[in-house]
Each structure stands twice: as C-alpha cells, then as structure tokens.
Symmetry: C3
Subunit: 198 residues, 3 copies
C-alpha cells in the first residue's frame, strides 16, 4: 500500500466517523447510518474521479473503501459511548477528512495533467463535497457555511502543497506536511474565532 | 423489451409520480413539476451509470425515459383529483421506486464486473439518490431521514437478491421477488413503526 | 474564441456574480465566496458534460473558466458597493446565467447526437443545476422553487431554439435570440407575477 492509498483510506475512515455521528444524532437506524457514512466518505472522491474522467471511480475497484467505511462506523459507535459532546468529535473528524482529501485531490488532478489552478479547485471541491452531501442528506446546515475558515483552510493548504512540490520536497513529506497544516489552520481558526469577511 | 427495461421504466414512472406530487404540493407551476419529476426519476440511474462508467448515461439514448416521466406526471395529475391524502400517495410511489431501483442497480453493477459488496452499495445509492434530489430541490427534509427503515429495506432486499442469484434462481423471478420483498418491508415497517436505532 | 465559448464564459461570469452575492449575504469569508462562486458557475456545465460523456469536463482543460469566475467575484464586489438591494442583483445575474446555459446545453447535446427532447431536458437541467447547488450549499430555498416561471422560461426558450434551428436560422442569431427570449420571459414573469399552477 503506497502513501496515497493510505491517506485516502484514512480520510475515508474520518469522513465515515463524521457521517455516522451526524446520522445517529438525527436518530437514523443502524443501516441508515451506514449509508450516510458511506455517502459522505465516497462523495468527494467520486466527484473528483468523475470530473477528471477516471472511470469507473476508484472505490468501485476493490473492497478497501467499504472496509474502511465499516471501520469508521464501528469507531463512531465506540466514540459515542465515551464522548458526550458529539459536536466536537464531528468537527475533529470532518477536519481530518478535508485535510487529507484536499491534498489527495490536488495530487490526483496533477497526475491527470491539468494545470495547477484547476488542480487546486479540484482538491478543494473534492474535500468539501463529501461533508456537504452528509449535511444535506441529514438536513443540517452544511458545516462549510457555519464554520468560519473552512474553504479558506483548504485553499491555503493547497497553495502550500503546490509550493512544496515546486521546491522539490519528496512525496510522503509534502502530503503529510500539507495535511497537518490544513488541520492546524482550521483548529486554530475555530478556537480563536478567526474571520475573513467579504 | 426485456424485464430490466420494463422494471426500470416502471421505477421511472413511480418516481415521476412522487416527484410531481412533492412539487405540486410546493405550488410549483406545471413545467416546474415536470422538471422535478424528471430529476427525481433519472437522478438515481444517472448516478449509477456515471459511477460505473456507463456513458453517455442510459436515459440519453432514446425517448423512453422522457415518455415514462410524462406518463408519471399525467398519472399524478389524475391521482391528485381522487386522493386527498397526498402524503400516502407520495409514500407509496416512492417505495415502488426504491424497490425497483435497488434491484436494477445491483444487477447493472454486477454486469460491469464489480464485487457483490460494491454492487450492493451501488444499488442502495441509486435507489435513494433520486428521492433525495427530489426532496432537496423541493426544500423538504429527505424521506430517507424521516422514514424509519428506509435504507435498511434496500439493504435487506439487496442481500436477498444476491442470495437468490447464488441459489441460481433465473432472471425474472429473482428481480420481481426482491422488489416485492423491499416493498413489503417498507410498508410493514411504517405501518407497525419498526425501529432499529443505533 | 467562437460564439459558444463566448456565451459559456458570459454565463459563467453571471453565475459567479450570483454565487458571490448569495455567499457574502450568508457572511462567508472571501475564499468561501470564491468556492461558492466557482461551484455555482461550473455545476451546470459539469453535470451536462458528465451526462453526455464528455470527459474530462470542459472547464478542466484550460484556465478560462477560473479567470471568468474570478472576474465574476470582482464584479460582485464592486456591484455590492453600489447596489443596496442584493436580491435584485442576484435575480438579474441568475437569470442571465440560466438564459445562456439553457441554449448552450441544448446545443452541446445536439452535437453529441441525442434527439431533441433529450437535448431540451439536458439544456434545462444544466441551466438549473448551478443555481440549485449554490442555493443548497448556502442553505437557501432554491430559487427554482420560489420564483414562479423559472423552469418554464427555460423550456419555452428551448422550444424556440429548436424551432429556429428547424427554420435554418444561422448560428450566432439563434443562440442570441433564444437567450434574450428566456431572459425577457423571466423578467416579465416576475414583474407581472405570472403564474401557471398545476
């Protein structure tokens, strides 16, 4: 398993956890939660693959994604027993998800040969879409609207990633550094209530 | 016309009826209803075809789908005159729609050569997506969230279908038996208020 | 640059303005507005290309679309300073967007070789989808539901376009006449409160 697959599966698990949390808060039944977890985990990646013309989409090829989603659901189940403030868990795993998917999205887009500005937009869209789908299906106001520096964190991280690649930083480090950077920006932005209004 | 085409067109009509009902309840105009009917009827199938890499999507090839949607709209118009409880009609036709689309989705996915677990997810997603699109466009809380055993019925039916195929049941019977099974589960679940909470 | 590209970029700018307006009204930050502008500008066209099997989707090939979206965002920023009634600007640019995208959608679909009825549905879907995505992401009731003669204007315009082509009207004129026609219908419909209820 290479680093890309590993990060994508981690992102998938994180989005599955956040999906299960949102769905179970809405009092959906067990398999309803599984479906929402699945949709929020594969939504972003599917959109990315479709737009880039990678077909059939990647999660269809093997059982890895379905296993990752199931792990995410189980994790969410055990997390729920321990943690009372569901909102915080949801926020945490949603943030891990968008951090990883932004970087993977840009990376995949560049491999297909699109130019950097398009790749950046592709990374952000794929990161944001899974969570939006989750929130829309659960009839929640999308987090992208409620959380201040949401898309901005992805954009800043994406620019950093393109810059690191330009500098010639080798593969695992640029991916990990950027993901960590996006994660930190969003955590700090929410903690210190950063705003950047129009 | 083979059994697959027949079931798909029946599902299309059912979703068109449910789409027209939801839209007309929201006081949209005639052609607004037609568009919502169309979107909810082709949404699930389009998603399925796109993810599986079947392109252009199936409803583009001929006029059958557009005729089926038009029939659905006319049916909805006459049903409306007779039936006062719109909610019940909507529920009935939405249930017929998801029953048929679950089975067709799994079937098409298996033909493309994906493994059974993925095919199952594909069937459920394609069944659920048309109705979700309808509800989101009409700014309704998606039925998937309000109705208890919604995705669960599709999942149970999907498992039955894969089991019947394993047993070697021949083509028309497995499709029809599974659709009827999903339909019954959901009717019973709502009637007797079955729940399966996380 | 041919007339098709010119109209598509104009539609893109119009939807980017309407996206920025909606997002900034929701008090999103600068880059959040950029993302919503982007999604509402490319949503319809991406759906059209995906359904028709044109892949990768057209906006990925070059930087034109991203530049058009950026222009739209800047325009929205300057418009905001001058115009107090945001609703009206949003309505105006949304109407320009759907007028242009209906015609382009039908045109592209006919080039791929689908029959006219399908092409008509494709044009309407692609015109409506960008704005719907914008409204759903911003947790607004989609304009398609609130504005009376919304889809109807696209349908009427689409029929006119197919008729003009049948008459043999040459390329730039049929496109421009139809766009203007859709634009006028919707403006008049809202001004004089036309309704067409089911």
């Amino acid at each position: 398993m290479n680093i890309n697959t590993f990060l994508e599966l981690s992102g998938t698990i994180a989005f599955a956890v956040s999906g299960t949390n949102t769905a179970s808060e809405k009092r959906m039944d067990i398999f309803g939660c599984l479906v929402i977890a699945f949709v929020s985990a594969v939504g972003g990646g599917s959109l990315r693959d479709l737009l880039l013309g990678i077909q059939p989409v990647s999660w269809i090829q093997d059982n890895n994604t379905i296993i990752a989603v199931s792990i995410g659901c189980l994790l969410a189940y055990f997390f729920k027993k321990r943690i009372t403030k569901l909102r915080k868990t949801l926020f945490l795993f949603d943030t891990i998800g968008i951090s990883l998917f932004t970087v993977i999205g840009i990376n995949k887009a560049l491999l297909v040969g699109v130019n950097p500005a398009v790749a950046l937009m592709m990374g952000i869209s794929s990161a944001v879409f899974g969570g939006v789908l989750r929130d829309v299906l659960c009839n929640e106001i999308p987090l992208i609207f409620k959380q201040e520096v949401y898309a901005t964190a992805c954009l800043a991280g994406g620019l950093l990633y393109l810059f690191l690649r330009q500098l010639g930083i080798s593969e695992p480090f640029d991916l990990i550094a950027t993901s960590a950077f996006i994660f930190c920006i969003r955590i700090l932005a929410v903690k210190y209530k950063w705003t950047l209004h129009f």
